[in-house]
Structure formats: C-alpha cells, structure tokens
C-alpha cells in the first residue's frame, strides 16, 4: 500500500499536487508519497502566526504538560492518522526503517527516547528554565526564584528544519509546545514519519491543531521557514548551515565531532573504559551527532585502537528486521560508496591506518540483500593533524588520536559532547573553560547518554523567551511604590501605574 504523508496546515491535512516518492531501502518499492509544500504556501500559513501565538498564550502550561504526557501514550500505543489511513505503532517502526535503513530495533529505541521526553516534560522544562515556576509563562509574570519575573516570547512561530539521520533528535523540539509557541516543522526528506506522528499524537492529546504546521519541502521551503519564523533550529551539514551561521534567530545543529578524552591516568587504565568507548561510537548505528567520532589519548593509542577495532569489527551487517541489527543500511548505496572512497583517499596521507581493515574479511562496504552497509571503521591517527582525526560520518566511525595531554584542549576543535575521563584537576578546569565544548561529561559517561533536562546546543527556553525588566506596584504598599516611582521622574510611569493590577502571586 502506498501511503500518503500530507502537509499539515494548522494541523489540517493537505494533499499537494507536488510530491516526493519514498522507496524501501532494500526493495526500492515505493512506500509513500510525501506531499511537498512550496515556499508560497508556507509563507501564507505563517502570516497568521502572531494571532495564533496569542491564542496559544492563553492555554495554561499545566494543561500543556498534561497534553505532553497524553501525547506520549498516543505516540507509543495508538493508531494515528496518516493521510487517509491510520498508522499503528508497528506500522510506524516499519515505515521508518523502510525509508531510512535504520534497524527496527533502533527505531523502537528511539521511540522510547521521544516517549520519555514527552512523559517527563515537566522535568525537562525545569532543567531548561532552571526551576522557573511555569505559570510565569501563563500570565506573563511569575516567580523567577528571586521575586517577579516576566518573560516575553521572541517569536510567533518556531521553525524546525529537521534531519533524517535519527528519530531521537525530534526530542529536542518537543518542549516548544508546552512553551506555547506555534510550530512549523520541515521534516528530513526520508524521515517524515516521526515528526508527523508526534504532531498527530499532540492533536489527539488535545493540543489545538492550529498551532501545528508540518511542511515537507525542499531547500527553498526550509529557507522560507527559517526566514519567516522568529526563532528556529536547523539541522544540516556544514554547507547547509553556513549561510545561517551568524543569524541569532537560528540555532544551528551541525556535525557533532563528539569525543572521548583521556588524561595520562585514564590512558594507563584504558581497558577499563573500552565498553564506554564502544557504546559511544556504536550506539544508534553511529548516526547521531552525540556518537563519539574520536578518542583522544596521550598514550597507548595503538593498543586502544586495536582493542576497539576488534570489538567494532565484529559487528555484522544484518537485515533491518533482525532483532540484533545494529547497523543502518544506506537508502542510497552510492552514498556508502562515496563515504568509503573519501576515507580511503584520506588514508593516502601518511600517519593513519584503518585498524578495522585487518578484522574483516572484505571491504568496508558490504552488500546484503541488495542493500549497502558501511562496517564500523576505526582509524588510528598518529597526530591530530591527520585529515581523518576530526571527521564524522553517518555510520560507526571513529579515530583514535594520539595527542599530548597538555595540547588536547587547544587542539580538539568544536566538540558537541566531550566525555573527559580525567583525574587531573587543572585539565578539568581547562575543559570547563573551553568554548569549543558544548556538552561536557566529566567522568565515564557515554557521549550518547543524554540528560534531557540539560541544554543541547543552546537552551531552547532562552532561545524562545527573554526575560524582560518588569515592575509591579503592590497596592498594599502603594505609598512606598509611589515614592520609588517618583524618583524616576517619568510621567509615563504614572500612566503605567494606573493600569497595573494586583498580582496573582501569593
């Protein structure tokens, strides 16, 4: 059956005359027609963002937290609308795996991440807002911990230009709903399934559909969303994100270049941390920006590389339906070939070696039932200068880089997640001070272990809201307030006073 994935315009399905056909990564059979939104249509819908956000503002946050919890259940358990049909949870896993090549077992794992964030949204928001009483967002003022705090939304609509690599990333934009900003989502080309299902779960849970826009589109459509939304997040490679690099309205989610850093002490005990390294590199098929793409160590580089290669090299390519499958197939086999060629070409530069090459019978690219897979690849780099030392690919790839501890912080470059297994305090202080590191794990925490109440590549709450200066007259102490405001000597404050009301705050 050929499914139709519609555009959602204010939550209502819309079938476009322009569509993209998604095919099964193995059989090449068409799976779905995805309606495509052109920029004019997106721009037309976003014209009414201001009015819609004002209506959204009127919904109590506690109700929206309940919506999130219910949406988690609907997402996990229900058959939800998909075009003219319904999609069961099992259908969802099959569709997702079919068009992305991700093993069904990993699809289910990612489903769990989304459910967890939706279910624990109050904790997530507490983390993002550092414990703000969320009623502050209901009346425009609230307890910020040290008296009155007032927040204003920086945008009437939040744009999310999303990737296809892993469904887990959709957890990042979910808090936008309880933060009461309408959404305009552009899914990744091969992965419309997860964001569409999430929005349908929100609608079933009682979130007014008018706040939800879903616009499968091309680069032009993505550009329209990024231009028209006051705040956005953009996933993409360096070339896709470069034009928006200096735009403060857009939170960029580019390559992660996440790393594990060992100090002299930890390098001496590297065997103890081998499991953590394997997990960080391999989890989720190595398709996340939070997967480690490098291990930096001051010594024992060769031994670490060989041990990792042995573990990673034993991971086989299995069909997506296999319960033990851990590697994703490439929907386009040429992509796998191109990545492999890129690595081989870079190996031409002296100072690096594919240590996994000795652990496998054939090449890096394998074919199985007509699908292409890239087998895990571990590269030993003698110095950080080698072109393969700081690379990231869409499969379990990592380098083991030898680097003196004293030079490490200077040389790691932009790093989304750094797991630093260290005892040296001065090293720890240097890492804390480094502006290259976004998420810092001190201690043996896998790079891919995410605490959802922590910010990720920017704090979504601060991206969406700014705290404004706000003063409110307490009528019971009006005499002193009048005295204070008279000090300012600004007649407009007198006007303002007459419009103030008694706060609801106890």
């Amino acid at each position: 059956m050929l499914h139709h994935v519609p555009i959602l315009r204010e939550g209502k399905p819309y079938r476009s005359l322009q569509s993209v056909t998604l095919c099964h990564h193995r059989t090449r059979q068409p799976i779905a027609e995805v309606s495509q939104a052109h920029p004019g249509l997106i721009g037309r819908d976003l014209r009414t963002s201001f009015e819609r956000r004002r209506r959204f503002e009127g919904m109590p946050t506690r109700d929206l937290l309940r919506v999130c919890r219910d949406a988690a259940r609907h997402f996990l358990e229900d058959s939800l609308p998909l075009g003219d049909a319904f999609q069961s949870p099992e259908d969802y896993v099959r569709h997702l795996s079919a068009t992305t090549g991700m093993p069904e077992a990993l699809c289910r794992q990612n489903m769990g991440k989304i459910v967890r964030v939706l279910t624990e949204m109050d904790r997530v928001l507490a983390g993002l807002t550092r414990g703000l009483d969320l009623s502050a967002l209901d009346g425009g003022q609230g307890m910020g911990g040290r008296g009155d705090a007032s927040f204003q939304a920086r945008a009437d609509c939040f744009g999310a230009v999303l990737p296809s690599n892993s469904p887990g990333v959709h957890s990042l934009w979910l808090p936008v709903i309880p933060l009461k900003v309408p959404l305009a989502v552009k899914p990744g080309r091969e992965e419309p399934w997860t964001p569409h299902r999430i929005l349908q779960a929100f609608i079933r849970a009682g979130c007014p559909a008018e706040f939800l826009g879903f616009y499968p589109s091309d680069h032009a459509g993505a550009g329209e969303i990024l231009r028209r939304c006051g705040r956005s997040m953009l996933f993409g490679d360096t070339s896709a994100t470069r034009p928006y690099q200096d735009d403060p309205r857009i939170e960029i989610h580019g390559p992660g270049y996440s790393k594990i850093l060992l100090d002299e002490d930890a390098a001496g005990k590297w065997e103890q941390h081998l499991d953590l390294m394997v997990t960080s590199i391999l989890e989720n098929g190595g398709r996340s920006c939070i997967n480690a793409s490098a291990v930096w160590t001051p010594r024992h580089g060769r031994e670490i590389a060989e041990a990792l290669a042995e573990r990673l090299g034993s991971v086989p390519a299995l069909p997506a339906e296999h319960p033990d499958a851990r590697l994703a197939a490439f929907a386009n086999p040429q992509t796998a070939e191109r990545i492999s060629t890129l690595i081989d070409q870079a190996l031409g530069t002296p100072g690096a070696q594919d240590v996994t090459a000795g652990t496998r019978a054939g090449g890096r690219v394998v074919r199985l039932d007509g699908c292409a897979y890239l087998l895990p690849t571990l590269i030993r780099c003698e110095t950080p200068d080698h072109p393969l030392a700081n690379r990231e690919f869409l499969f379990p790839y990592a380098s083991v880089v030898s680097c003196p501890q004293a030079e490490m912080v200077e040389r790691i470059g932009p790093t989304l997640v750094a797991t630093a297994i260290i005892r040296d305090e001065s090293f720890a202080r240097a890492l804390m001070a480094s502006r290259d590191i976004d998420r810092l794990n001190l201690g043996p925490i896998p790079t891919c272990q995410v605490s959802w109440d922590q910010p990720h590549e920017g704090n979504l709450f601060e991206h969406l809201y700014r705290r404004r200066a706000f003063q409110l007259v307490d009528e019971s102490a009006s005499a002193s307030a009048l005295a204070d405001s008279s000090i300012l000597g600004n007649p407009s404050h007198g006007d303002f006073r007459s419009e103030t009301r008694k706060p609801d705050i106890p």
């Binding site: 476009s16 005359l17 322009q18 495509q36 052109h38 920029p39 004019g40 249509l41 721009g43 037309r44 014209r47 550009g223 231009r227 470069r242 034009p243 735009d247």
Partner: protein
C-alpha cells in the same frame, strides 16, 4: 514584398488540418522573405550562401525546416546586432531585447513590431469581464533589457488603459541566489512588493495585473488582491507547477481571472488552454501559430517528436517577418499535448526546466 500578418487572416476557427495547411503556406511565404536579398537580414543571407541548396525553392512546408538543422543559441550572443535586421526594415526604428541572462552573455533579438503584434493577438484571449477595457494595469516584473515591460504596457494601451510599472532585475536576483544571500534577496523582494503596494493603494482604478508566479505569491500573501481591486491576473516568466496553479486559484486570486502564459523574447507568447478542473491544474500552452511553433522532441534526437502525453525537450521555431529561428532547443521540457478546438495544433503541458542539464538553471524570484 509584404506577406500578410497571420493574425489578420481569416477569423474562422480552423480544423487541425486547416491549421497545418495555413502553417505550411505561411512557411512558404516567410522563408523567401528572409532569404531574399531585398528583404532578408545579413545573417540568413550569409547563411544561405554557404548552403548547397536553395531555401527559397526547397522549403515548401514546416517539415522542410528541419533541413536547417538546429538553431545554435550562440548565434544570438554578441554582435553586431544589425546582422539580424531584415533589409526591409533597415529604415525603421529597431528595438533590441535580451533573454533572461541567467547564463553568460545574453541572447539578443531585434524587434520592430513583433511585440505589439504578439500582445495584440494575446489581448483577444483576455475576457473583458475580468480585464475591463479602459482599466489600468500594474506591470510587476522584469523590465530593463527585456521586452516584457514594453509589451505589457502596449497591451494595456491597446485595451485602452494606462500601465504602472514596477521593475525587478532578475539578473541581480540570480546573483543573490548564487551567492546564498537570501536575506538580501528577501529585502529586494520586499522592496519590489512595497512599490507595487504603493501603486495599488494610491491608484484605485488598477484592475489588471501582470506579474510572475513568485511575485504573485508575495503580493497575494501581503494583501487581498480582491480588496485591491484586481480582477484579472496575467502571469508568466517562470515555471508554473500544477501545485502553484491550484494554490493561486484557491488562495491568492479570490475570483480574479488567471491567465498563465509561457513565453520568451524569442517566441512571443503562448496562451493557456482554458481552465478545466479535469486537467488537475496542469497548464497546457499553445504557441501563437503560425508565428511560432512549439514541438516536444526527444532530447537526444531533436528531429523526433515524442508521442502525445510523453515528455521531451521543448523545440521552438519562430516565423515572423522580423525574426526567423528554425529549430531552437529551449532550456525547458514538457509533455506533448493534443490540439484543442481553440488552438488546433500541438500544445505543451507542464513546462519546467530541462532536467537533462548537468547543473540546474537558477530561476529565482522573478
């Protein structure tokens, strides 16, 4: 020697067979015109001198034009431009118009009266109810070296109106897109639309609009065309997908008549098949035959016309007294559509940029 203007031939609607006979007869008149030393232009006279056959004798119908092979667009790039001026017109004021200019040195075409004739012919297809005679126009699109501004202005004047003009420079737009300066592009688009809004707000008797698909979206997303008094929209310049067509009818036009066209400096203006819901918003265009002929051919064998409904590259032949272009391969592809009563010759459906080029042509907002 003055061949008759085909637009002034019989008003009776011909059959497919008659239309073809008329085309062949027109070819038999126009070829000698261009290859006669008294009337032809230096380019074609020089071209004929290198042939070992005589076009005036051996071209007896449209199919014989294949003997010229394909028209190379390089011939239209660079000067001297006078080599294209037919001797018969050497004393007349000459216009020169350029193509879009999205690829290197633009192609040029000389003009005397063709743009007026083309747009007068087109005028007959516009319903007076929606494009009222005597009402004013807004021309919101590329002017500069293009013929569009003069042509639309003439159309307005021909229908008794006055034309307000707002310029858009597509070459600048293409540069901005290539440079990735999308924010500057947006500012420029806003600048253009703001000028249009000023005209519409200050001139209450503008009823008719010419604009491009992207500018129509931008304008329609800013204001209600109906409240602005627009009752007829003539649209062209870039690709119009079925989805855009539907979106325009359902959400932008608010009852205004929509006249999509396919045209360029070399051809003139191809009119659309009247809207029929059964077409699923696919737009079919018909060339102003016999002044210009559109064929859909196999990209690798431009002599072979594809079957009805099949996709191929658009091939243009222009046959006017001012300009002779046999077998020019456009940068577009489309499906071949069968004749209809109103236009009893082949049409072209779903015109879009030719997918066979290694790199895509930047189309931009214009």
């Amino acid at each position: 020697m003055q061949p008759p203007q085909p637009s002034r031939l019989s008003n009776a609607r011909p059959s497919v067979h008659q239309a073809r006979e008329r085309l062949d007869a027109w070819v038999r008149e126009i070829v000698p015109w261009h290859f006669s030393p008294e009337t032809g232009c230096p380019f074609w006279l020089e071209f004929a001198r290198k042939l070992d056959w005589d076009p005036c004798r051996e071209i007896q119908g449209f199919d014989d034009l294949r003997r010229f092979g394909l028209f190379e667009d390089e011939w239209l790039r660079g000067g001297p431009v006078r080599r294209w001026v037919p001797r018969a017109y050497r004393e007349r004021p000459i216009f020169v118009f350029e193509t879009g200019g999205s690829t290197g040195v633009p192609k040029t075409r000389i003009n005397v009266e063709d743009f007026r004739i083309d747009y007068e012919t087109f005028s007959a297809t516009l319903p007076d109810e929606f494009f009222p005679r005597g009402s004013n126009w807004l021309m919101l699109g590329p002017s500069g070296p293009r013929r569009l501004r003069l042509a639309v202005e003439h159309l307005a004047q021909f229908r008794g109106g006055i034309c307000f003009c707002v310029d858009l420079d597509p070459r600048w737009v293409i540069k901005l897109i290539r440079w990735g300066k999308m924010d500057v592009l947006e500012d420029y688009k806003d600048h253009v639309i703001d000028q249009a809004l000023t005209v519409l707000r200050s001139q209450p008797d503008v009823r008719c609009l010419f604009t491009t698909p992207k500018l129509l979206e931008a304008l329609g997303n800013k204001i209600s065309l109906k409240k602005a008094g627009i009752t007829g929209v003539f649209c062209g310049g870039t690709e119009m997908t079925p989805q855009f067509h539907r979106f325009a009818r359902e959400e932008l036009l608010e009852g205004a008549y929509f006249a999509p066209t396919y045209g360029n400096t070399l051809m003139g203006l191809a009119c659309h098949k009247p809207f029929d819901p059964a077409d699923g918003y696919a737009i079919t265009y018909f060339s102003p035959q016999p002044r210009a002929v559109l064929e859909i051919v196999e990209p690798d064998h431009p002599d072979r016309i594809v079957g009805y409904g099949e996709t191929g590259r658009v091939k243009l032949t222009t046959l006017t007294k001012e300009f002779f272009v046999p077998g020019f391969l456009e940068r577009d592809e489309a499906e071949r559509a069968p004749p209809i009563d109103l236009y009893p010759w082949d049409g072209v459906r779903n015109v879009r940029p030719f997918s066979g080029f290694a790199t895509s042509v930047v189309e931009g907002v214009y």
